[in-house]
Amino acid sequence: MSMVQNFPFFSIILAMFSGIASSVLDGKRAKHLSLCVIAVTTGMSAAVLRFCMKTGESYTYMMGHFPAPWGNEIRAGALEGLTATLFGLVMFFSVVGGMEHTAADVEGSKQNLFYIMIDLMLSSLLALIYTNDLFTAYVFVEINTIAGCGLIMIRQKGRSLSAAIRYMIMSQLGSGLFLIGLSLLYDVTGHLLMTPAKEAVAVIEAAGLYAVPMLVIMAVVSVGLAIKSGLYPFHYWIPDTYGYATPTASAILSGLVSKGYIFLLIKIFYRVLGRENVIASEIVNVLFVFGLAGMLMGSVHAILEKDTRRMIAYSSVAQIGYIYMGIGLGTQAGMVAAVFHMFTHSATKALLFISAVGLYEVSGDRKDFRSLRGAGYRNPLAGIGFTVGSLSMVGFPMLSGFISKLLFATSALQSPHKMLPTVIALAISTILNAVYFLRLVITLYSIPETSRGQAASPGKSNWKLQLSVVCFILLNLTLGLYSQPIVEWIGSGLAMFD
């Protein structure tokens, strides 16, 4: 067994251990430790990706002395490696970018607790990506939820506390449904590991047994994870949550946490329930419809919003809608597009949140977007970052958002029944996106009126934020310009799932 194959396990344990060790460190050391750990795990994930692309197949890794149906297992393939690498990058840049604000928003003696949450969040995300066991997935979903709640409420303002309780309530509804789905699945298959469970599901489907329970399992698991990732009718917690947390937390929550659940859902579809069964069961059509509704309604809400960060949060609702629409198309191409859009969105949304903060800090920290008038001149780099992010969301060529829209459109053409609604919704949603993002960009670059410009102080430059904005722009451009190999990796990674 090659050493690289140990890396997924090492990265999970390392992240967890650093979280545990941070409890006795002071804030500064905890910060450095957590940055180091994120960097190391990202490197390890990249090595795993390279290893899997070289050997061309995935592998499972026993957690303990006992093989598949008895002991826990994790599994790594190309898609897992790619996702873990990108998540690690986004997390690193978000932590770096929001560092100053974290120091300001969090009480001095509680700094290390913030980094404990970051570490454990990283480990739970990695575990959700790599896991090959359903119950492990449940436990780490819970860690993810609690760490997310911690990241929201660590900025102890009233609004973020109420957002945190709302988030917890919605997440618990989702977890409850997910857990009962797992129990039902265990009841009819008798397995908790994904590989044997899939075999058992195939046997059941072939024998035509338990048709009703299987349908309900699919529905309940999808709805549970959809609630947790904020699909349209369950999106009420999103704007408060993303809008009032500290910048790092907003970027991580919107960019990574919801994506972790979606990745788990895709994994369960492929590795447990079987893609054909899911497509045959019409569940995908329900997800498709809700995805379309989310795309439109999220954008409409964003247009009506005045607070920039809440606007970006509502735009997340729309983008989550895109991802579910891709899953709902039910074709391989649709799934590739959904996964690619997942990456796009995590890179772009984190960029938007971080650069919006950069703009706020030169405009007197007011919520209203009108205070941002002319902020693009006061903090040029953040302005450029915001513009790039907006253009990417709208689908400007060369940027990653364009590629994902292209992929959605081409995959829609392959499924005749869903082509028309998809294309129409894509068009309308793009126009709506353009409307509210361009409005922001125009505001950024319009000359401030003298009376209003008084309040804004010329901000001192915060090099960490600028560095992270530059890195995010580069990441976006990479995703946009080198999309071909990434799409291929996603395709081969999805093929490894079967």
């Binding site: 303990g64 008895w70 607790l113 119950f135 039902l184 008798g190 009703v212 309900v216 505001t443």
Partner: protein, 323 residues
Amino acid sequence: MSRQRDDYEKSWWYRFRKWVDGEMDLLDEGMEIRVPDEMLAAMDGEGQDAARHPAENKEHTFSYDGRGIRYFRRFYQVMSVLLCLSIIFVLLWTVAYLPAFGNAGNPDNNEVSARYIERGLQETGAVNIVTGMILDYRAFDTFGESCVLFIASCCVLVLLRIDAADGNEQARKRLEEANDRLFEPKNDVILQKCACVLVPLILVFGIYIVLNGHLSPGGGFSGGAVLGSGLILYLNAFGFGKTERFFTEKVYRRLTLSALTFYCLAKSYSFFTGANHMESGIPLGMPGRILSSGLILPLNICVGLVVACTMYAFYALFRKGGM
């Protein structure tokens, strides 16, 4: 000229510009966004009222502004009730199709549980198969579970710990402690005498459960919870002064850190050797003895310590915002 101006004001571009400037909304033109002032005043009054009599405020209903929101609430509630009922109905419908209760031929009684039962004693050394399963076969889940407890205690620390950084905070802390003693009997003799008898018994029972986790029902989690409740009873009877002599935040941190670190290292070693097909080299001992079943006993002790400390810490943090 004026006609042109009119056209311009009606044109989409003009409206777009106005909207960009935030001066009007394209979609909800003329809709009331702000709450009328007298309504706000009324709410403020209510707010003060509620603050003065915090206990009563669950009786009075809160008046919402605007008809739209009220209808929205009503709609939302009706939809939620329908959703819940349909979930119950669907799940009940499912139950009717599930395998029958208590039947040995059900799909979940397969080779997985058979191996746990038939070879668990030899492979893990634990007489209690459930303990053997959660601490050896499926140890990764259990490790995750300890982390859930750890991160929850961190979150509660963030929320409730009061840091005596400056004078203001100190004043608040004193106030908190005064509030804390308000509702409880001070040095209640009956409680103290009962606690004198009960606390040692509870602690011994908890330690027994932890140490015998691999032999009899129980284990780290239940034993730790029993230990924690024993500590809580002691705290309630004798006050913070007594417990602070042996249990402070420093002790708590060190105990959790060392227990979790040992857990993490031990399990990493066992995962690593297992995955790379090496022998772990830990003797399993004679099944049925206390000192048997390899790593399970020390792991149970670690888990017990973590759970006991965390439960006590939850209680102390809830009571006075510190340990």
